[in-house]
């Protein structure tokens, strides 16, 4: 298995297709949510993923400040179904946050988390800044992380 970190323009066509396929599989099909996953925030983002042979089994998108929010953000956190419960989610977030604070020099990270993952994000130092609300039919909550 190999961790890969790339800007949008360095992704190969196959990597891009595999990323879009995994996100479609989880956020559209599994979560039964008819939304536009390919939202044009991919182009300014850094893409971090774990490759097992030719399959992407875990993925996270790191969005620099001033795009989705004025703060930096991370999202589209996904572990392929067959690979869940092995700690890849935790590793995605901690690697993602490390890249954002150390390489992208972001001090603050804001996320639109799915509410059922609130406790999970709290373990990384995220704090709730909104009530829970429904977006695209799913319960969300905004959370904020300050580095230092």
């Amino acid at each position: 298995m190999e961790w890969i970190q790339k800007s949008f323009k360095n992704l190969t066509k196959t990597e891009l297709y595999e990323i879009a396929k995994l996100r479609n599989e989880v956020f559209v099909v599994e979560q039964k949510c008819n939304y536009q996953d390919l939202d044009d925030f991919d182009q300014p983002s850094t893409h971090l993923f774990l490759l097992n042979d030719d399959t992407i089994i875990a993925y996270i998108r790191l969005i620099p400040s001033g795009h989705f929010y004025k703060e930096a953000s991370l999202g589209r956190v996904v572990v392929k179904k067959e690979y869940r419960g092995k700690g890849y989610g935790k590793e995605l977030i901690s690697r993602g946050m490390q890249i954002m604070t150390e390489e992208m020099n972001e001090k603050v990270i804001k996320i639109q988390g799915e509410a059922y993952l609130k406790e999970f994000y709290k373990t990384f130092g995220f704090k709730e800044i909104t009530e829970e609300y429904i977006d695209y039919g799913l319960w969300h909550i905004d959370m904020l992380y300050h580095s230092n």
Binding site: K13, Y17, A20, N24, V29, K32, N34, Q36, D37
Partner: protein, 152 residues
């Protein structure tokens, strides 16, 4: 405006993104259908699209025989919302049929058609070969164009 006909290998990454984005816009969001749009049939298909200012106006996927069906097939046919009613749907289907029959030398083309477009496809010579059925919550019917029969 320019027409493109490309194998997956010849598409740029940015074209792949725009194509998938246009398909999700229409088949997932507009049709309210959370299904597997990105299905690994693309690598085997030819991609026909009309582009203007880096924007995809119309798109269709041309699938060789023995991938989805024993016959060649056309799918994911779309015209972006703001470009509808200008005849692009007819134009792209005409080009798709011409490509499959003239370049691939196929005599039969099968469609997994949405029922509300049945008359549109009939006008090109397609005929129903199944009853209507529901797939992903949307009524479909399979239709076949047989050039050996329809060109009399």
């Amino acid at each position: 405006m320019n027409w493109n006909l490309k194998a997956f290998d010849d598409l740029t990454a940015s074209q792949v993104y725009k194509i998938l984005q246009a398909r999700v816009d229409v088949f997932v969001v507009e049709q309210n259908c959370p299904y597997r749009e990105i299905d690994d049939v693309d690598q085997l298909s030819m991609h026909l699209f009309l582009e203007e200012d880096n924007e995809i106006i119309a798109y269709a996927r041309l699938i060789p025989k023995d991938v989805l069906y024993p016959e060649a097939s056309i799918g994911r046919i779309l015209v972006q919302k703001k470009f509808r009613q200008d005849g692009y749907g007819r134009e792209i289907l005409k080009q798709a049929i011409a490509t499959i029959t003239n370049q691939w030398n196929e005599t039969k083309i099968k469609l997994h058609a949405q029922v509300y477009l049945r008359d549109f496809y009939r006008s090109f010579g397609f005929k129903e070969v199944t009853e209507e059925y529901l797939e992903d919550g949307i009524p479909h019917v399979d239709m076949l164009l047989d050039k050996l029969i329809s060109s009399n």
